[in-house]
Amino acid sequence: METFQFLAQGLSVALQLDNLLFGLVGVTLGTAVGVLPGIGPALTVALLLPITFKLDPAGSLIMFAGIYYGSMYGGSTTSILLNAPGESASVVTALEGNKMARVGRGGPALATAAIGSFVAGTIATIGLALLAPWVVEFALAMGPGEYFALMVLAFATVSAAFGDSTLRGLTALFLGLTLGLVGIDLQSGQARLSFGMPDLFDGIEVTTVAVALFAVGETLFIACGGDRTQETITPVKGSLWMSREDWKRSWKPWLRGTIIGFPIGAMPAGGAEIGTFLSYATEKQLAKNPEEFGHGAIEGVAGPEAANNASAAGTLVPLLTLGLPTSATAAIMLAGFQQYGLQPGPLLFVNRPELVWGLIASLFIANIMLLVLNLPLIGLWVRVLAIPRPWLYGGILTFATLGTLGANPSLVELGMLLLFGLMGYGLRRFGYPIAPVVVGLILGPLAEQQLRRALSISQGDPMILFGSPMAVIMLSIALIATFGPLLWRLFKPEGAPSSLAGNED
């Protein structure tokens, strides 16, 4: 097969000593920026671009890809241990991961995240190598109507993150939707809910909200003694490593997460977050013990972590085959290609095969490096939980603030961090779930844009929303996901599973 021949050629490029070194630097940097809340891979790659100008293209692109993959690994660490997601794609991981960490199962949670990332990254990279042309065709067939259906599907599954009260969950979701309205409306160019403040014209940064609600809110909650029960955090209980049971419960979510994350990452308007939402909801639906969700179900860590890594590989599909950047990081990597006079697209595979296949091959190697780098670190990371609480949360607050200010040095941003931190405290204090706020903030604007775009293209004819089999299938699944449980309850009143999802914070 031609592909394997190319891949072997690519491996010989990627295994050159200097390229290995670039890969190692990339994954290490990536892991670090993933761990630090607020600083993301896009910013890191952008800052490195001018420095790498003089390096050879293969080496620096390999390094950038390493940063991208590494940050997806690193993002889970603070989510799980500190309930402070470093990236919006690891918000969902915090839901179950942090619950596990609190009862001494931080080790297995980090391990399933790392191995899941490895499995997903490897499978998705194979997908990138073998299926790219077909995946791209599928992704391009997605018009605004289909995207809207996907958003509806994502909304229908949000309830999985609601906790025990639908009313409170919906309240939190609508809070997020409202925050999503802030800023200049893309379709009309008019500013909404920004009260004449230019700083709000670009909308509210998802990362700032996520870091504020989770990390700052949690810190305030603990500092205010809201946690009067004096819950003790056990750093390690039982094995640091995954048990046989953990493996059994993890491998299917890994694969499902990959299958969900990869195509959504490849969609020009998909993004890593939506895959994690869908994966979490799927795992909760399919789990043997759904009542464990909200109390530290390992499936809820394994699935979403696999999904966000698979989507990182998915993002490279349209980037390499079409020159389409579908995420902030991909957009900056595109600028990286262009600074070497390379135009990603159908011709890149023909003109510079050694570069493309070298990059793909180095992704496999980056994955292995990340696994080797991350597994031994787990023992070190869980010790973080043994730090006395005042110090630990003081540190979290410092890093959250530094990260946010590092990404955007502005007083308004800092003010928002504190304001949303207070909001996060309020939500916790009165038992409202946090994740739906972030979900609403991410999904709301996307859904609105796609709906209005679709209606603009069809000149107001709503049938465009049901215009393709793909859209109809997704809308049907959304319908079943929303009303299925309700009907189930109606017909089986005595056997109705009571929602046991706990107070999520």
């Binding site: 896009a42 910013l43 790659v45 952008a46 800052l47 671009l49 001018p50 100008f53 992704a139 391009l140 067939a141 997605m142 018009g143 605004p144 200049i184 409306d185 893309l186 379709q187 009309s188 160019g189 008019q190 500013a191 230019p198 700083d199 014209f201 670009d202 020009p268 308007a269 349209p318 079409l322 020159g323 389409l324 950047p325 579908t326 902030a328 991909a330 957009a331 900056i332 595109l334 600028a335 262009q338 600074q339 006079g341 135009q343 990603p344 697209g345 159908p346 011709l347 890149l348 955007n408 040095p409 502005s410 844009q449 775009r453 603009s456 293209i457 000149q459």
Partner: protein, 320 residues
């Protein structure tokens, strides 16, 4: 007298650029890119940085990023904090002009000292390769027949792409408020919609579409700049019978309240840079046209652009 003659001879010998530079260039500069790292303003600022530093024109150049509101946030901060400081520069451009007008920003380019226009990027108008529209004339015909049926994918509402479509409509006698412009948040997303056949036509920077045009997936109907591009096989709008010229230009400005002498020094530093080999290399690698225009000529241009853009934004309904 002899002294002066010797000096001027030397000046000619050493090439005028070197002489002016040695006399005037500051030892350090700080350039604000009023956008996040990676975007057009950031790349412009960092290109200026690398050329000035590598040619040793200015030994120490720093770039800071202040993103927000199409450059308005950075501009406001710059106008307030840099007053009278000749070591600070800000990068801006056409997108900023439009954003300042559309958002009715209290701080405008009148609050800084514009120095020179540096680069220009032409927009390209494309259709999917299987589209029945073969030329710009076909597209204009379709637009005249039913403006609502021709959907255009491009960048943000009120941005350069949107303005260009509005101008085209107006010039060919179509009501600009009737155009069906579908804004996308980035060139990539718009490109996907065009390739996927979701829209009739697409409009964005030439470099965004280059790869797809070369690969035969998109047909390039026209470019919006005033002159044909060396590596691009497409007529200008004017050659296609539409009297419109739009370029996404970028500029550099100095702080408000600097002296005339300081302004002259900065202008000569910029001129040295624009004429250097390093700058030319960057223009080629990034596909930017050299649209250098400095001093008073640029100030007049800026005034006209602001007036024209205000009118267009009203025409397309972004400015109410």
């Amino acid at each position: 007298m002899l002294h002066r003659i010797r000096d001027s001879v030397l000046g000619v010998l050493v090439a005028s650029t070197f002489a002016t530079m040695a006399a005037a260039a500051p030892s350090q500069l700080s350039i604000m890119a009023p956008a996040a790292p990676g975007g057009g303003y950031d790349q412009t600022a960092r290109s200026i940085q690398s050329v000035l530093q590598e040619s040793k024109t200015v030994p120490n150049v720093q770039v800071t990023n202040v993103p927000g509101a199409g450059g308005a946030v950075g501009l406001a901060q710059f106008a307030n904090n840099a007053k009278g400081d000749a070591t600070q520069l800000i990068v801006g451009g056409y997108v900023m002009v439009g954003a300042l007008i559309a958002n009715k920003s209290p701080v405008t380019l009148d609050n800084v000292t514009p120095l020179a226009r540096l680069t220009g990027e032409s927009d390209a108008i494309v259709v999917p390769v299987n589209s029945p529209l073969k030329t710009m004339e076909d597209l204009v015909k379709a637009l005249k027949a039913d403006p609502g049926k021709v959907s255009w994918a491009g960048g943000s509402a009120g941005g350069v792409d949107h303005i260009a479509v509005g101008l085209i409509a107006k010039k060919v006698g179509v009501d600009p408020t009737k155009i069906n412009y579908v804004p996308y948040s980035g060139g990539g997303e718009a490109l996907a919609a065009i390739l996927g056949g979701q829209v009739t036509a697409g409009i964005s920077g030439v470099s965004e579409f280059e790869g797809q045009v070369a690969a035969g997936k998109l047909r390039l109907l026209a470019i919006t700049g005033g002159k044909r591009l060396p590596n691009v096989n497409a007529p200008t709008l004017k050659e296609s019978g539409v009297d419109v010229e739009v370029e996404n230009w970028r500029m550099v400005a100095a702080a408000p309240g600097i002296t005339a002498a300081q302004k002259a020094d900065l202008l000569s530093t910029i001129e040295t840079m624009v004429k250097s080999e390093g700058w030319k290399k960057i223009l080629t690698s990034k596909n930017w046209a050299d649209s250098y225009l400095a001093g008073d000529a640029f100030a007049t241009y800026l005034k006209n652009q602001t007036a024209d853009t205000t009118q267009v934004l009203k025409d397309i309904g972004v400015l109410k």
